[in-house]
Amino acid sequence: MSYLIADGQHPLVCADAVRDEIILYNLGVEEEVLLFAKFERITAKKIDAESKLEALSGGQKVVLMALLALFSPAPRIEFLHLSHSLDDDKATQILDMIKQSGKEILLKDLS
């Protein structure tokens, strides 16, 4: 059984813009809109496809990684070190989304 691995200690792979991560996670147009709306709701920061990844804080990168994984077509996701870099409010919101995602999800090192 293969899982999409999303590791909070290495949240993003690309170095330029959000668009690159969206391509990597194979998000559709609808998911992209949802991603931006959800990200803004959780972090109070507005982003779009052209936003630079370097302008995100460490925790915001982890939020973005979690949303990219959840909105991706991957049916199974393994989250590693997810909550370490998140404040309580954001960790709760992400964990709620995970519960409601309907995907098969493993959480490891939830320190």
Partner: protein
């Protein structure tokens, strides 16, 4: 002792940090940078604190970066040259390696330890050197640490209170 003056600093277009009162970081003390994600803790470290510490000959700086995979690669390369066989797999090994490196130096210069979202803050008991610990974490707070609080007024502006 390091003092960061009060005032507002533009970190990048659309985000500024305001220091309410001069921030003093004294040797022998611990400081907890407390704030939500995106409130500017790492920005204070990288854009204000580290430039202030860099180049000072009278102290050491030991900095553990958040999401430190690039730092791990760099230290692996260094360890391969200077300490072949020292395996650096993760953050705990980075701590061990850096403390061991510091312990081997024959002086008593103080060290500023800066840990940005570190998983561990275990400072070896046998370290005799004076230490100032500055750290951020969402998971724990050391009992005697002074709190440096980051209050986000908006996504564009944070005020820092000590």
């Amino acid at each position: 002792m390091i003092t960061l003056p009060a005032g507002t600093r533009d970190i990048w277009p659309g985000f500024s940090l305001s220091i309410d009162q001069p921030l003093v970081f004294q040797i022998g003390e611990s400081y907890f940078l407390k704030g939500a994600n995106g409130s500017g803790k790492s920005s204070l470290i990288h854009h204000i604190l580290l430039p202030e510490l860099r180049g000072r000959k009278e102290l050491y700086v030991l900095c553990l970066q958040q999401q430190m995979h690039l730092q791990i690669y760099a230290l692996r390369a260094q360890a391969a040259i200077f300490q072949p066989g020292f395996a650096i797999r993760g953050e705990e090994d980075v701590w061990r390696y850096l403390w061991q490196d510091l312990a081997a130096r024959r002086d008593n210069l103080p060290v500023y330890v800066i840990a940005d979202e570190a998983c561990s803050l275990d400072i070896p008991k046998d370290i005799q050197r004076p230490i100032c610990l500055i750290y951020s974490s969402h998971r724990y707070q050391l009992e005697k640490a002074h709190i440096v609080e980051f209050v986000q007024l908006s996504p564009q502006k944070t005020v820092i209170y000590a």
